[in-house]
Symmetry: C2
Subunit: 252 residues, 2 copies
DNA sequence: CGAGCTGTTGATCTCAATCAATCTGAGTGG
DNA sequence: CCACTCAGATTGATTGAGATCAACAGCTCG
């Protein structure tokens, strides 16, 4: 059973068609990645298998770019593991992180469905694996299976809603409120007991995600520390007083 | 042929099932409204007809609310005519206009597909007609017709992209740039000859759409007038010097 | 003709960006 | 094992775009 060759990185440049003979294992990996997508979980096994056939696995190293902005989009990317940063903007206008995609998230949906160039650029923040469903494959399978087509619609709807939520927070909340809400929304009770947030990327990236500068993010965290609401240790933030934190959305 | 009763307003409260006997005419109107949606244009006639069956026509008067925020969403609303303002926010936090929907636009997609409450609220800015495809009808028809399911995915993708564009402009551009870009993007050469923008709503609403205050919008327009780039007469804005306007994105 | 919106203008304020030094700490090579 | 580096984070000083508050002007429509 040593077909472990399949686990080797297949870069974008190599279409991965060479592994066809060992497809069984290959496809199992792909299918399990696809099952990680909430919207695809309910798909019939047959549809899933057909979708996996022709899918391409890509392994990215930290810092590697998956696609640039205004670039041709090969198809739909399903994040199998790792973390991909989606950001918009240009060198002149600056950049803004619009999403941090993790396992089960999907990239390139609108470009793929609309047949347009990508709008954001995507870069791996840590070593990551993504599954590429080429536009042709995807449209072919979706045309055959209503359940898949509907799943795509659902993913689009979900993404729309999330973007609308972001747009609302940027427009209607202060930077401080966004930071506080982010902490509250991402807090989880870890094994250690206390309510904790583990930042999923460096602070400057989280700051951009929240539409504030790194400086302002830092200052605000330290104000929250002074207020006794949180404690910060690197990327780990412990919420000491959730009530106080919730009411810290106006300066001291 | 005087079945003009059909043209009477059918409010949300009356499910309109009473007009069933005259469906032929009713459905023709519905179909023509649906054909106004770019993503639905290519649908086979049969699918279109099936979709129209069970659709409900709603006539709204100026100022009337189609749905509120955090409300149950009856289904997909297709704007047949008029203009609907979609906005997010609350009384306390303020409001922000996220879209001005006109004929061919679609509202309530994400709420309908995800089975969630509405996120934004919708209000008619002028007397408007919309077609309601109830969630049940829509899901039923989409489950039967792949082309419809794919069309829904396309609409979702389009909305995502537009929201991402908005998010980018709010994050990366100055208020002045957004205003200038809005004027340039909405300029059309009218019959009168010169490049003209006709604001589709009162200035305060356009201002909110652009994420600036009415005061700032007004001031900026007047600065652009002083610069000789535009002339303003009520809701009509004539672009006198597109080149100068394009370069007016930094203060005088 | 006055009541009520919508828009304009003026004065002031403030949040958060920007600019500019440090500081810290995880690698890295010697 | 330690000095060096260099990116990331912090801290301080300053600035400014745009919001806010307030007053007023025009128009429209009863």
């Amino acid at each position: 059973m040593n077909m472990r060759d399949d686990r080797l990185a297949i870069r974008e440049s190599s279409p991965a068609m060479s592994v066809r003979p060992k497809m069984a294992v290959h496809d199992l990996e792909i299918v399990s990645a696809l099952r990680g997508v909430p919207a695809l979980q309910a798909l019939p096994q047959a549809v899933m298998t057909r979708l996996a056939t022709g899918a391409i696995r890509l392994d990215l190293i930290r810092g590697e770019s998956l696609f640039g902005a205004e670039a041709h989009c090969a198809g739909l990317y399903v994040v199998a593991s790792g973390r991909i940063m989606l950001s918009v903007g240009s060198a002149e206008a600056g950049h803004k992180v619009i999403r941090l995609a993790e396992a089960g998230d999907i990239l390139g949906l609108s470009a793929t469905l609309l047949g347009l160039d990508t709008f954001a650029s995507a870069e791996a923040l840590v070593d990551s694996t993504v599954v590429l469903l080429t536009r042709e494959t995807l449209l072919d399978r979706a045309a055959r299976d209503v359940s898949l087509a509907l799943a795509l619609a659902n993913i689009g709807a979900r993404q729309s809603r999330n973007l609308a939520i972001d747009l609302e927070s940027v427009s209607l909340q202060s930077g401080r409120e966004r930071i506080v809400n982010y902490l509250l929304a991402n807090a989880a009770t870890g094994p250690a007991g206390p309510l904790t947030v583990l930042l999923s990327a460096k602070k400057s990236i989280i700051a951009s995600r929240l539409s504030v500068t790194p400086e302002y993010f830092s200052r605000t965290l330290h104000e929250l520390i002074s207020a006794g609401a949180i404690a910060v240790n690197g990327r780990q933030i412990v919420i000491l007083d959730a009530v106080r934190l919730r009411h810290s959305d106006h300066p001291a």
